[in-house]
């Protein structure tokens, strides 16, 4: 048998991009969450024990029963866990280094994952109070929520 050539300087190589332009239907529950994002409100769903999951899910993760009561939660919350992303991954909604945090929104019982826009990891801490920052042009996508910033750093421009 012929041994394959090790890819050396003489080997052919090419950039190959495979892209699937998926459009997915959302269903009524995820659709409601995305509708909320477009309207600049954060939504969760209430479980039978009264707790609220954010983002909302269609079925209870423990009992499997369908969940139907979509509720609004606050656009402020508390960081329960975080990491620092530097540099941002290709295709990231954020072009500069940023935090990625689990944010427990006020009124929610489960934290949601999103970016936190601070200048350095020194600006992040568990327990930090944060507030949502919305894009001006919103289309019903998770990136309508530009991210979170510390509550005391919400500027007039952000509001």
């Amino acid at each position: 048998m012929t041994e394959p050539d090790a890819p050396g300087p003489s080997a052919l190589r090419a950039d190959l991009v495979i892209e699937y332009p998926f459009i997915r239907t959302t269903g009524p529950v995820v659709g409601a969450f995305l509708t909320g994002l477009r309207e600049a409100v954060l939504l969760g769903i209430r479980r039978s024990d009264g707790t609220v999951m954010v983002p909302p899910v269609e079925y209870d993760p423990v009992t499997s029963e369908p969940l139907t009561e979509v509720v609004e939660v606050a656009s402020t919350g508390t960081i329960v866990s975080w990491t620092w992303v530097d540099p941002p991954r290709p295709g990231s909604p954020w072009e500069v280094p940023h935090g990625l945090a689990l944010v427990l929104l006020d009124g929610a019982d489960t934290p949601m994952l999103h970016g936190v826009m601070v200048d350095s990891p020194d600006g992040l801490a568990t327990g930090l109070r944060v507030e949502a920052v919305w894009k001006d042009d919103r289309v019903g996508h998770i990136t309508d929520l530009a991210g979170f910033v510390p509550v005391d750093q919400v500027t007039a421009a952000h509001r």
């Binding site: 090419a14 332009p21 239907t25 289309v139």
Partner: protein, 206 residues
């Protein structure tokens, strides 16, 4: 986004209760979630050899050591038997249409491919499997299984070590290959003929 033809009843949930803030607005029913994979592609040894020859208007295949079947493009293996197949053979740039498809919907991002177009499995003379290509040079309605075609290569100055050296395949005007021996039926027909030769004690020379 609401620019897709999704019937309202398909996504307006029965029994889902919405808060006042979104109760009277147009609901979001779909979302774009493109998936993009970026590769640094390095072809296999067999494919490297194939692409370099293809840039010189030669089409290489691999001959199976098990039964002599010729695969194109060469992959360095006979996938049916799980064995290495590293014998390279030169194939003609002429063959016949084994099967084809007329496509009327454009591929996103392929503005160079106006619809309707005909893609086909081209069964090259000397090969035992098809080779994907476009058929042009005749009306789409005239394309048929068994039609003899030849490669229309790019101008010499535009050839390269890529899979894009053949612009399309055009009719040669020769008589068609009979349906029973066209496309993937050719291998079976060839095996049957060889078996007949063996039964006759003849030497097929294959």
């Amino acid at each position: 986004m609401t620019d897709t033809p999704i019937p309202a009843e398909a996504s307006d949930g029965v029994g889902v209760v919405l808060p006042p803030s979104i109760r009277d607005v147009e609901p979001v029913r779909s979302v774009r979630t493109p998936i993009r994979l970026e590769y640094d592609f390095i072809p296999s040894a067999a494919a490297q050899q194939y692409l370099r020859a293809y840039g010189e208007k030669r089409i290489l295949g691999n001959r199976s050591p098990v039964d002599g079947a010729v695969f194109v493009p060469p992959r360095g293996v006979d996938p049916r038997h799980g064995v290495v197949a590293d014998e390279m053979v030169d194939l003609a740039d002429i063959g016949h249409v084994g099967s084809f498809c007329v496509t009327h919907l454009p591929i996103p991002g392929r503005r160079d491919l106006p619809v309707p177009y005909v893609s086909a499995w081209i069964h090259l003379d000397g090969a035992d499997i098809g080779f994907l290509g476009l058929v042009a040079g005749c009306a789409n309605e005239d394309v048929r299984i068994g039609m003899r075609v030849r490669a229309v290569w790019k101008p010499d100055g535009e050839l390269g070590d890529t899979a894009e050296n053949v612009l399309h395949w055009e009719p040669t005007g020769e008589p068609d290959v009979p349906i029973a021996e066209a496309g993937n039926r050719a291998w079976g027909a060839k095996q049957a003929a060889a078996a007949d030769d063996d039964a006759d004690g003849g030497d097929s020379g294959a």
